[in-house]
Amino acid sequence: MRSSKTTPTRKPEVFRFTSQPRLEKPSLIVGWMKDIGDVSRGVADFLAGAAGGHSFCQIEPTDFFSVGGVAVESNIATFPQSRFFHDDHRNLLLLRSDEPQSRRYEFLNAVLDLAEHYKVESVYTVDGIVSMIPHTFDRRVFGVFNGTDVQRRLKGHLPAGLRWHGTPHMSTYLLWLAGRRGLQAAGLWIEVPFYLSDRQDAQAVRSAASLLGGIVGWDYETQELDRRAAEQEEMLAHLRHEDLEIDARIQRLEEGEPLDDDEQVELTEAIQGAFRRHG
């Protein structure tokens, strides 16, 4: 068999380092800035905050994002960011990034190049997944693994595996590319009630952070996550009390009765509207 390889041409300035941390076979957590229930972002923000909030490296945006202007979201001009953080205490690398708009293969390989440079032992991704559960139920977490070794290793933490046949998510693509390099990687997919999917589901963020901490053996002060989850529960309880239609539909979900498409849309709009009204 004959084959030929050409190494993807990567410009040397793809990374911009401000320091070079010293870590011993760290884990790499990847969090994206937009996902269902803002779970990925919530976990990444939490971990970045716990790490001190200082990034040591960023991926230059020009190859992967449209840089002809800025997007404005919630009155604020935004700009794509892909920043790496390190937490020496917990031996952790964190990528907190917008999903690349183009050249995903090159972007993900750049991430894995950096992971190999730091001799990363395992890569983890965290994402939300839409579910029909009501917010009063525990969020289940489904695992995706790039090999049977990592699947066996994490079986105690992630007994349920995701099933999927379709266009791969960025995280799944990353896991698969990591597997091609012999790097163990797992994705955590946390359930988010459909009516909370367009905003941050604080309960799902807390569940994800807690499970991730358990997997890699970190201890975190989670009072802030607990407080936000409690606030969310309180707000939703208030909405149910205030709007009997919302209450009735959530109750049906609690009783395992499905809502039809129109009812789902109406419930989502009612909840979103109420959250907006209550700030």
């Binding site: 068999m1 004959r2 084959s3 030929s4 390889k5 050409t6 993807p8 183009s102 050249r103 995903r104 293969y105 090159e106 489904f142 695992g143 995706v144 693994f145 790039n146 090999g147 049977t148 699947q151 992630l158 349920a160 595996g161 995701l162 099933r163 999927w164 046949h165 379709g166 266009t167 791969p168 998510h169 799944t172 693509y173 896991l175 698969w176 590319l177 597997g179 091609r180």
Partner: protein, 300 residues
């Protein structure tokens, strides 16, 4: 990014014939058909990672079991007068730099296998009516090939297309491969089956143009091709187009000028088709595309 050969086929100075997905899937359908009829054997592929986004992931009980990408495969065929390498590409890279890299890679394989000539197949968009038999436009990368092309059946050079004066552009790999081959001093010819301009955005293939290309290739290779199956598909597509045009003229909001053009397309014998202005062509395309979009949305 690279290529992988499962085995080294025993080929003697083969020619390479390439077809990629493009307008009307003319090249893809043509080359896929001929390699299937010839029972050509797959022997290698261009590794898709880096060229394409993954199209499908299969995750079973949490384990990523498969990641599918658009394939670009090589097939070998021992023809009656010459050996042939077919290349079938399910998709073209969207990034121009990657398109160039793929063209270089294809030529690298061609060079390794001792290919003496490259053919590419695709679509030529023109004002032909869908009930007419498409001609084949041929563009070589060397003047020396023109006398040979003049012998091909139902084939014209760019200079024979009205108002084109021998000039034009071939987008994507069908064209780029000619250029890269030229820089490597390898003969190459692009064969383009004519596709009506109002169908260039259609989501379905246009097999009628593929058939015209296949008739030329069959003669070049001295291989008889049974194209009845493809002919039947072409007839179904034609009936489908008629239905779409019939539906389109019933749309109330259709501007009168576009409606008149549509009537000409529906009843081609009533009047000569061309020439039409660019503005008219744009109007028709916009409305046709809307209809196709609506239909594909419904199918989805």
């Amino acid at each position: 990014m690279g290529f992988r050969l499962y085995c080294e086929p025993d080929l003697n100075q083969p020619i390479m014939i390439c077809g990629w997905s493009g307008i009307g899937k003319v090249g893809l359908v043509a080359i896929n058909t001929i390699r299937r009829l010839a029972k050509a054997e797959p022997f290698g592929e261009i590794e898709p990672e880096g060229f394409f986004e993954p199209s499908r992931a299969l995750i079973v009980n949490g384990l990523i079991e498969d990641m599918r990408f658009p394939a670009t495969r090589f097939y070998a065929f021992h023809g009656p007068i010459q050996d042939v390498v077919f290349l079938v590409g399910e998709q073209q890279p969207s990034d121009p730099h990657k398109t160039y890299e793929m063209a270089e890679m294809v030529l690298e394989v061609a060079d390794m296998l001792g290919c003496r000539r490259i053919y590419t197949a695709g679509a030529g968009v023109t004002t032909i009516h869908h009930t007419n038999k498409p001609k084949v436009w041929a563009v070589p990368n060397s003047l020396d090939l023109i006398p040979e092309i003049r012998e091909y059946r139902n084939t014209i050079l760019m200079s024979e297309i009205r108002d084109w004066q021998g000039e034009g552009a071939i987008t994507g790999l069908n064209g780029l491969l000619l250029g890269v081959a030229r820089s490597r001093e390898v003969e190459a010819i692009c064969l383009m089956g004519e596709v009506p301009y109002y169908l260039q955005g259609a989501p379905w293939p246009y097999p009628k143009a593929s058939i015209s290309v296949l008739e030329v290739l069959g003669e070049i290779l001295h291989v008889p091709l049974d194209l009845r199956e493809l002919q039947e598909t072409a007839e179904k597509v034609e009936a489908n187009i008629d239905q779409v045009l019939d539906a389109l003229v019933t749309v109330d909001e259709l501007p009168e000028q576009v409606r008149e053009e549509m009537e000409i397309l529906r009843h081609p014998r009533r009047a000569d088709l061309g020439p039409i202005t660019e503005a008219e062509q744009k109007d028709i395309l916009e409305h046709i595309d809307e209809i196709f979009k609506d239909n594909s949305d419904k199918e989805a």
